[in-house]
Amino acid sequence: MSQSVIPTGSPTGSLRARAFDPLILLWVFLALILIFLVVNPLFRLVQSSLEEVDTGLFTLMNYVNAFSRPRYLTAMWNSIRLGAMVTVLCLIFAVPMAWAISRTDMPGKGLIRLLVLGAFITPPYLGAIGWILLAGPNSGWINRVWMSLTGLPEGLFDIYTFNGLAFVIAIYSFPFIFIFTAAALDVVSSEMEDAANVLGAGTLRTTWLITLPMVLPAIMAGAIVTFLEAIALFGTPALIAIPARFNVVTTQLLQFFSTPIRAEVAAAYAVPLLLITVVLFGLQRWMVRRRGFVALTGKGGERRITELGPWRWVMFGYSLFVMSLAVLLPYIVLAQAALSKAWGRGFTWDNITLKNFDYILFQHETAAQSVVNSFTYAAAAACIAIVLGLAIAYIVSRKLLPYAGFLSFLAMAPFVIPGIVLAIAFYSAYAPPPFALYGTATILILAFATRFLPIGFANADAAIRSINPEMEEAVRILGGGRLLAIRKVMAPLMKRSLIGAWLLVFIPATRELSSAMFLYGPNTRTMSVMLMDMSEEGNFEHLAALGFLLLIATLVIVGLATALLGRDFMLRRERQ
C-alpha cells in the first residue's frame, strides 16, 4: 500500500537529526520526570522491602515473612485468578458492545454510550454497595423477588462469593476495554473488510478474522489495564471478599498495616506484582509482534457501517442487559437510599425526603470543597499523565533513546502497585523537605498522575502504533522538524483517542481512594475520602446522595467537554 520510496525505519531521515537534535534534551527531561514520579518511589519501595525496620540493615527476612505462609500465597493466587476472570468477563461485556456501537447500525447508541460512561464514573465501592443490596443472599432485591416467585427458600445469587466479586469488579472495569476498543474501531477503514467481503467472507467471519485482529493492540492494552486494575483494587474486595472469607492481595496488604504494622513486609509482598506487569508486557509485545501491521494510513479510507438486520435488536438487547447490571439496577437501589430519611425502612411514602441532597450541597462543611478538589486534582493529573504518556509512547515507538523499552515498563509499573503502597512511597519521598510537599495539592496531583500514567501511556501507545510512521516521515523528508510532524500530523490524527484517554485518566482519578487516603492534608480532602468516611459510619443516605451528585456533576463536565470539542468522542451519537 505504501507509495513512499523510503522504507520504514530508514536511517536517511534521522542522520541529520542525530548530528544536533536539541529535542534530545526534551526527551531526557521527560525521562527525568519519569524517574522522579516512578523510579524514586519504586526504589524506596524495593529498598524498604530489603531493610530491617529499626536498624536499616540489609535483610531478606521481609520476603521470607511475606511468602512463608500458605495464606499469603493463597491471597496472591486468588488475585491472579480474580484478575484473569475479571478480564475475561470484561472482554465479553465490552468488545461486542464496542463493535456494535462503532461498526454496526445498532439502535440506541447514544443511550448505551451514556450508560457506559455512567458505569465508568461510578466508584467501584459505590457499585459494590448497590450490588450487596441487590444480591445479598438473604435480603437482596433480586433474591427476594426470585424467592417470592418460585417459593424456594434459597435466593438465586450470592454476591459474597469469588464469582460475585469478579462480577462486581468486571461491571465497573469493562469501560476500559470498551473505550480502547471503540476508539480503535472508529479509525479502522473498511478497505480490508471490503476485500474480505469480495472474497466471499460473511459479516461474522470478516469481523472475527479482519476487524477484530486489526484492533487487537487496543484490546490488549485495555485488557492489561483491566487486569492490573482488578488486582490493585481495594474497596470492592474489602466489601465482598472479607465477608466471603477469602483474601486477595489488597486485603492481605491491609492486614500488614494492622497492629503490629509491618510496612516493610507489605513492601516485600507488593514487589512481585511488578513481575506480573513485566510478564503482561512481554505477552502483549509477543502477541502484537506476531501480527504486526498498521491500520491507520494516510489515505482517507472509507468507514462503512455493517448492517445487522434483525440482529441489531439482539445487540441492543445485549448491550442494555449489560448496562442494567452495571448502572440501572444499582442506581435504582441507591436512589432508594438517597431519597430516604432512613434507608433501612425501605420504600414507604413517609420515608421519602430530599433532605440528604440539601445536606450534602448546602449544610455539610466540607462536601462541596472536596468535590471541587477532586475534580481539579483529577483534571490536572489527567493532563500530566497524558502529556507524559504520549511523550514516552512516542520515544518508545520511534526508538529515540536507548533502552526505550525500559521506559515503557516504568510507565506501566505504577498501575500494579496498590494505591496505598504507592502513596506511602510518595509520602516518604516527597512529603518531608527538601520537596516539602506535605499536605499540598501538588503531592496528590503527582500521585494521581503517576497512578494513572499507565492508562495515559497504554492509550497513547495504542494510538501511535495504529498510525503509519510514513505520514510523519513524509513531513520530515520535506524538511519539517519532529515537533512540526507531531503538531501537524500526529496530534490531529490522535486527537480523538487522546481526548478519550484524558477522560480515562480523569474519571478514575476523581474516584481514586487508596492513595488519596494517605496523602491528603487539612485543606486537600477529596470526595473519595469523604465517601469512605460515610460508608464507615453506615451513613448510606448521605453516601448515596453524594454518589448521585458525583454522577450528575461528571456527566455535566463530560457533556460540556463534548460540546466544546464538537461532540466527537464518547457521546457521539451517529457518525457524519
Binding site: P137, P243, R245, I261, M517, N523, E536
Partner: protein, 346 residues
C-alpha cells in the same frame, strides 16, 4: 446536624453542668501561660481516627472558638493509616503531628517505647472517670473518647422478647446465617471485644459461633449496615454509630448484654516532636474538658469524663455493667486472637 444546633446543645450541656463547667475556667497561672504560648504558635495538627471527619472538623472549630487564634488542622483517617503516616513522619524526621488520637490502644505503648510521646499531665486528667483507670499511661497518653461494644438488633425483624440478652444468646442456632460481626484483624474495637469474650467464655465461644455461619464484615460498623439492609438480624456493634444510625430512623436497636458491655477506648497523646508544643498541650487538655465531652455526647460518643450525661437512648456509663481489658493485656492478646480468629473462621 448544623453548626447552630451543636453550639446550642453544647451551651445547654455546659449550663446543665453548673459548677463542673467552671472548673476549666478557674485556670491556673500555668494554663494562662500555656494559652498565651499556644496563641503565638497559632495552630495545631491533629491526627485523629476516633470520629468521622465532619465531627472532627466540628471539634476543631469548637476549640478555635474557645481559644481564638489557635487553628486546628484536622487529618482524619482510619487508625492504621494515621499511625503509618505518623511512622513515616518520624522516620523521615519531618514531624507534622501535634496531637494523635488513635483507635488502637496498641499504638500508644509502641510510640511510648520509642520515646515519641511528650511527657505532659493535663490539668483535666484529674476528671477522667474511674471506669477508664488503667487504660492510659499517666503523664503520656490518656483515654479521650470511648464507646461500648454491645448487641445490636434489627427491630423490624426481631421482636423485643426474642432479642438476645447476653453474648452467649448469639450462639443460638436460630441466628444461623443471620448474625453479623466485625473482624478483629481490621477493627481495633472488635479486637478488644474478642479478647474479652475469650477471657470470659474461652475460645470455645468462637468455635460455636463459627458453626452458626455468621457474616463477618471488616470494620466494627459493618454489622450495622448488614442489619439495616436486612441481610442479618442480630450482631455486634459499637454503641456510638449504632445510635447515630438509629437516630436517623433506621430499624437498629441496642441491647446492653446482661453479662456486660465491652468498653473500648480511644487514647490521645501529645507528640514529643510536636511542631506546636504549647498549642498541642492546650488541645490535649481540652480533649479532657466538659466542652469536648458535650460535643461527643451530641455525636453519641462517650468522652472519658463522667460529668456530661449522654443523650436519651443511651445509659450513662455508671449504670452499665462494663467489661474492660487492660492495655497490657490487649497488647499481649490481640495478635493471638487475630491468628485464632483466622484459623477458626476461614
Amino acid at each position: 446536624m448544623s453548626m447552630d444546633v451543636t453550639r446550642r446543645s453544647v451551651a445547654t450541656g455546659l449550663a446543665a453542668l453548673g459548677s463542673a463547667a467552671l472548673l476549666p475556667r478557674s485556670a491556673s497561672a500555668d494554663t494562662a501561660e500555656l494559652e498565651a504560648a499556644a496563641r503565638k504558635e497559632g495552630s495545631i495538627t491533629w491526627y485523629i481516627a476516633q470520629v468521622d471527619s465532619e465531627t472532627a472538623e466540628k471539634m476543631g472549630r469548637a476549640f478555635t472558638a474557645r481559644y481564638p487564634g489557635v487553628k486546628v488542622s484536622v487529618i482524619r483517617t482510619t487508625g492504621q493509616v494515621a499511625f503509618e503516616r505518623l511512622n513515616q513522619d518520624l522516620k523521615n524526621n519531618a514531624p507534622q503531628c501535634d496531637v494523635f488520637s488513635a483507635t488502637d490502644i496498641g499504638h500508644m505503648p509502641a510510640l511510648r517505647k520509642r520515646n515519641a510521646l511528650a511527657n505532659y499531665t493535663p490539668e483535666n486528667a484529674a476528671f477522667i472517670s474511674p471506669a477508664f483507670k488503667g487504660l492510659g499511661e499517666d503523664g503520656y497518653f490518656y483515654p479521650t473518647t470511648s464507646t461500648l461494644m454491645l448487641i445490636i438488633v434489627n427491630t423490624t425483624k426481631v421482636k423485643p422478647e426474642e432479642a438476645p440478652r447476653n453474648w452467649t444468646d448469639l450462639l443460638d442456632p436460630k441466628w444461623k446465617g443471620r448474625a453479623a460481626f466485625g473482624h478483629p484483624g481490621f477493627s481495633g474495637y472488635v479486637g478488644v471485644w474478642t479478647v474479652q469474650m475469650r477471657k470470659m467464655y474461652g475460645w470455645d465461644f468462637f468455635e460455636k459461633l463459627a458453626r452458626n455461619n455468621p457474616r463477618i464484615g471488616r470494620s466494627g460498623n459493618d454489622p450495622i449496615s448488614l442489619l439495616n439492609a436486612g441481610e442479618c438480624v442480630v450482631g455486634l456493634g459499637p454503641l456510638s454509630t449504632s445510635l447515630m444510625v438509629a437516630d436517623r430512623g433506621n430499624p437498629i436497636g441496642i441491647v446492653y448484654p446482661t453479662d456486660g458491655s465491652v468498653l473500648c477506648v480511644g487514647p490521645s497523646a501529645v507528640m514529643a516532636s510536636a511542631p506546636h508544643p504549647n498549642a498541642a498541650r492546650l488541645f490535649m487538655n481540652w480533649l479532657l474538658s466538659t466542652e469536648f465531652a458535650a460535643i461527643c455526647a451530641e455525636h453519641r460518643i462517650d468522652a472519658s469524663r463522667a460529668d456530661v450525661p449522654p443523650k436519651p437512648g443511651a445509659k450513662p456509663l455508671s449504670e452499665v455493667k462494663l467489661l474492660s481489658v487492660s492495655t497490657d493485656e490487649l497488647i499481649k492478646s490481640v495478635p493471638d486472637v487475630i491468628e485464632q480468629w483466622r484459623e477458626t473462621f476461614s
